[in-house]
Assembly symmetry: C2
DNA sequence: TTGTATGCGTTATCAT
DNA sequence: ATGATAACGCATACAA
């Protein structure tokens, strides 16, 4: 009893022949019209299909109907736990609605963003979740022309009116400043990666400047790429190694910054708390370092689901005006902001 | 000057008409036969294509040639940084070879594994990277029957002879025990997640037992799911809160365990180093907690690339006997194993 | 309830 | 060097 060693999978035609019915009937069986088939026929199709190991070919299906069943996602940095958590939310939502997710990591490289976008377009994705650094104008235009729904994640793009989901950056900064002031810190250093290509970074930065005086705080800002650790060390030393009128704290614009800054502070031998430390983004280890690092947690899974919701809505009604969904952060107070 | 608001993308036919050539020529232009076209024709096709914004439809291409251009990857736990790092390596290699990667997270759920595998099959992926907990036999058989190349990641599957890439678990355990012994620890507690569905866990466990006596160490083992933190606390207390003849250390079977154990030790107020702590898998924060946590780092990117290499080879020669590639870990010694 | 015929966008085969 | 035409596997309008 040798199984037929086949080179390729069974097709709808083979099943039809085997069951003695037409291709159409088999197609209906695997489509959403199973109910329109007689019980007898359903039996025979089911039997043949399972014996032949038939699986509908989604590629062929997509070609005919224009329905690839695919949602595309561009992630600026897959090694950022925040991105992964959001992606997890998007994926769950995709599954729940019968879509599959195709994720492309771009390593914050605009060239890769363009390439991957073209790729996703060539697979005719039915929706797009974008978390990018550059502005892939042309490639994007090609997609939007087809009315492919689009949702921006965490970062918005100039001159692109699209749905957007992310953190309420103003509230995040407000909450951070309020917490730091309440804990008695009077001089702040805000450290961010270069904000040029990430709107959320810009927004946080602006808000920091805006609210600073209002809260009666002194502050300064430092923007630099995290791979330049000497520069980071210098910036932190400049801030901490001089006489000050009030307790000092460092505020980190995101999880990557928190990691880099924590390393520097640790190397310097600073005591967390005495030197305040707070970060946007909650990470696995924030409770473990020293007295614990105070953070503002983002509701990552919810953000992911919201992104998918946006897509689905727009799939139904492509004319709905662009909407922005902004989630509030949750303060997780720990020892790094306790003096 | 209104751009032609088109509902769908330009097709090869439209380009052909616009350029006054045949479909075949356009197909050749975008395939690998550009050289066979006259310079003049190349010019005209290029012009028309770019003006119409034409992109070959990979779905249609896949239908005809059976080449989806897709590699599928099943990841047991996307929130595990180790998995993400490996995935990053796989993705890079995919890109380098003109493939796209379709990643499915299964949350360690065999049901999801089956579903996602069926899905990947329906997209006719040309290769498969598997990191799974269950044993999706039927679905897998369907794929392997088509000679879809397959490579197992970190975990092998019973009665499935396939390529496999991962850590050299024996060397990892040996290195850990040797280091701990050299640092003067004499009684060990090895903590692992349940090994039943992950061969690498089993292998590490066995090796631990095997080598224990040889190194003149006392040891015991504890296997439990990490979501049961009371049980973990109890196990650790049992080990640490009793008189001992020699310094004690906890060895963690992977990064997740290291995280959970570190939390418990911290809550108990143990001093790292005095109580030894060591883990397999290097994580961002291991250098930051207390005196630093000693780890064995896996060469994640290399593992990812090796997985893809396996696939590519097998795509060329499907008869090559199954091969296992095992990478050696790198010891990163820190304060948690310094008494 | 079931079947026939056509087309989706592309590549492969066979011509010229 | 270039083109006409037939598949690829499926869904759908239409017919019975």
């Amino acid at each position: 009893m040798t199984a037929p060693t086949r080179r390729s999978r069974a097709t709808i035609l083979e099943v039809a022949r085997d069951a003695g019915v037409s291709k159409t009937s088999v197609s209906r069986y695997f489509g959403d019209e199973r109910s329109r088939l007689s019980p007898d026929m359903q039996q025979r199709i089911a039997a043949s299909a399972s014996r032949l190991g038939y699986r509908p070919n989604r590629i062929a299906r997509g070609l005919k109907g224009g329905q690839s069943g695919l949602i595309g996602m561009l992630v600026a940095d897959i090694r950022n736990p925040f991105s992964v958590a959001v992606m997890h939310g998007v994926e769950q939502a995709c599954r729940a609605h019968g879509f599959s997710l195709m994720v492309c990591n771009t390593d914050n490289d605009p060239a890769q963003e363009r390439d991957h976008l073209a790729l996703l377009a060539s697979y005719r994705v039915e929706g797009l979740v974008l978390n990018v650094a550059g502005h892939p104008g042309e490639e994007l235009a090609a997609l939007t022309e087809r009315d492919t729904p689009l949702v921006l994640l965490d970062r918005s793009l100039d001159d692109l009116e699209a749905d957007m989901v992310g953190l309420d950056n103003d509230r995040a900064i407000d909450a951070a400043l309020e917490h730091l002031r309440a804990q008695g810190y009077g001089e702040l250093l805000y450290i961010s990666e270069p904000p040029e290509r990430a709107s959320s970074r810009q927004r946080r930065l602006e808000r920091f400047w805006t609210k600073l005086g209002a809260d009666g705080l002194e502050g300064e800002v430092c923007c630099l790429p995290l791979d330049d650790s000497p520069a980071l060390e210098r910036a932190i030393a400049d801030f901490l190694d001089r006489p000050a009128a009030a307790p000092r704290a460092v505020l980190c614009a995101n999880g990557n910054v928190t990691l880099a800054v924590t390393r520097v502070l640790q190397a310097r031998g600073d005591t967390l708390g005495t030197t305040g430390l707070m970060g946007i983004d909650e990470l696995d280890w924030c409770g473990l370092v020293g007295p614990g690092i105070t953070t503002l947690a983002q509701p990552t899974e919810a953000i992911g689901r919201a992104a998918m919701d946006s897509l689905l809505e727009r799939l139904t009604d492509s004319r709905r005006p662009p909407r922005q969904v902004r989630f509030s952060p949750t303060l997780i107070a720990r020892g790094s902001t306790r003096r």
